[in-house]
Amino acid sequence: MTVTAMQKLAAALAGLLVGTGGFTFLYARGFSYLSDKPETCVNCHVMREQLDAWYASSHSSAAVCNDCHTPHPKVAKYLVKATNGIKHSTYFTLGNFHEPIRISSSNRRIVEQNCRRCHEHLVGAIHGSPDELSCLSCHVRAGHQR
């Protein structure tokens, strides 16, 4: 299915509803969360490390941020983008988040599903669900070369 401008707008508006977070969300070109260009993630300098590490990774030619960090199909995608966008914006504004930045378990799960989505043909038969055998327990550097 394709995504209508309506859905994007709805997601963005959802952001607006949340006080400072919502404000930052716009200021920091929070719409970047609705785009697929990696560079747009780096409207926040705190994302710079991950961008650089992504460029260095085996996937810079294969997958962009949202291929891994937002779920598919797309409806869910834009909801997660909006919520993550608001969450990060809020943190960013208040500045009191754990460093080094660590992926949340829910977002880790989304990533795991995306690994499987793209590599189904190769690993579908042998690798079950994330709780069974986590891709990241071995391919920890797939998305970000450390």
Partner: protein
């Protein structure tokens, strides 16, 4: 190749060419459904050469390290003892080894063949253990049925001793995660074990208190257990056997959730499929797949990191062996000098503690790599106990009248 073209092959996966029976012990039959795994498994009889301390060569340990004959004096391991090789050799090697000659109990087969899984069912474990090994109806070496449930191909443990030991530890194997199973299947065999008694050689694992050497020693001491009495020192000794699982479990890799299969059966890509490399072998001949997924160092660098750890371990082993041999000779000298059992009791129990620790590292197969600092700690303790035994013996022989200056160093 572009990832989307592969979608094609993705559809046709493992065909069930044949139905695999519940007790199918012949890997060739399994191989009809899983040719890639079967071909790799067949390679376990290939000689891929030796590494510094491991590899596939049937190395004669007694010839490579003459001290072993004195350390194992009076026990079958002083007759013949070789470095292990691939799973495909297990049947040949257990039959040919001179230890225990023709009197091997069925127990010796427990970790050598897929047929025992069937036999435990048909005969029951107790009858199996109590039958002469050469009389058991076995055809195949270690293979598929030892690790897999043929109906689902899931990993499965079949060894009654392992199942019993885990129950006693309160571990529910049904709840085991897949990653745990990737080590448990190996822990059916790559572990320290003992026989209930020479008369009734039921197989057990000494894990009542835990997996560390200290835990196992505590258990053996409580049971007053020993394998043999050393002819020169008179100490009641225990022969440790390949505690690969136990040492690994104390290490940083186990702590980090890295399983045996991760390193010894790494995934590999065969055409458009990803499978586990069933050529179970030294990871040092397969570093790219075995290590580099997690470690970004070059193959040579990774190999020399392993070597650095192994050489440190080997150096401490040399010291331990010299210390234990000094102890053995000092005790001998003392008893020759007339020191009695009462006077030598302390020295002998110290010899037991020392040899147990050294043999734990000696019989473990990674030359310390599976847990470098723990291996070094145990060897440090072995040296301490051995030299204390020497001190006690010399004091005893002084009592016995002579001085011990005659005690020779190896």
């Amino acid at each position: 190749a572009n990832i989307f073209e592969k979608k094609q092959e993705a559809r046709d996966r493992f065909f069930r060419v044949v139905e695999i029976g519940e007790f199918e012990t012949d890997p060739a039959v399994w191989g009809k459904n899983f040719p890639d795994q079967y071909d790799a498994w067949k390679n376990t009889t290939t000689d891929y050469g030796n590494t510094m301390f491991g590899g596939s060569g049937k190395r004669d340990k007694l010839a490579e390290n003459p001290r072993l004959k004195e350390l194992y004096a009076g026990y079958p391991f002083s007759i013949e003892y070789n470095d292990e090789r691939g799973h495909g050799w297990s049947l040949v090697d257990v039959k040919e080894i001179k230890r225990l000659g023709q009197n091997k109990p069925g127990t010796c087969m427990s970790c050598k063949s897929s047929d025992n899984v069937r036999l435990w069912k048909e005969m029951g474990p107790s009858a199996f253990y109590n039958t002469n090994m050469y009389k058991l109806d076995v055809k195949h070496p270690i293979s598929c049925l030892n690790c897999h449930d043929p109906s689902t191909m899931d990993l499965r443990v079949a060894n009654p001793a392992f199942i019993e030991a885990m129950e006693k530890r309160g571990v529910d194997l049904k709840k085991a995660t897949r990653q745990e199973m990737r080590s448990y299947v190996c822990a059916q065999c790559h572990v320290e074990y003992y026989f209930e008694s020479k008369k009734n050689p039921i197989l057990h694992f000494p894990w009542k208190h835990g997996y560390t050497l200290d835990d196992m020693e505590r258990y053996y001491d409580e049971e007053g257990f020993y394998d043999w009495v050393h002819p020169e020192s008179g100490a009641k000794l225990i022969k440790m056997q390949h505690p690969d699982f136990e040492l690994w479990s104390t290490g940083i890799h186990a702590r980090s959730g890295v399983s045996c299969a991760d390193c010894h059966m790494p995934f590999k890509r065969v055409g458009s499929q990803k499978i586990s490399d069933h050529w179970v072998r030294s990871p040092l001949v397969n570093v790219a797949a075995a290590c580099q997924t997690c470690h970004r160092w070059s193959e040579d660098e990774l190999k020399s990191r392993v070597m650095a750890i192994q050489v440190r371990t080997r150096k401490l082993m040399d010291r331990s062996e010299e210390a234990i041999i000094s102890a053995i000779r000092a005790i001998k000298t003392a008893s020759d000098a007339g020191a009695g059992d009462a006077a030598l009791e302390k020295a002998r129990s110290l010899h037991r503690k020392a040899q147990m620790r050294w043999d734990y590292v000696q019989s473990e197969n990674s030359m310390g790599f599976h847990s470098p600092q723990e291996a070094a700690r145990l060897l440090g303790e072995a040296i301490d106990y051995a030299r204390q035994a020497e001190v006690e013996a010399i004091k005893a022989s002084a009592v016995g009248g002579k001085t011990a200056r005659t005690a020779k160093r190896p």
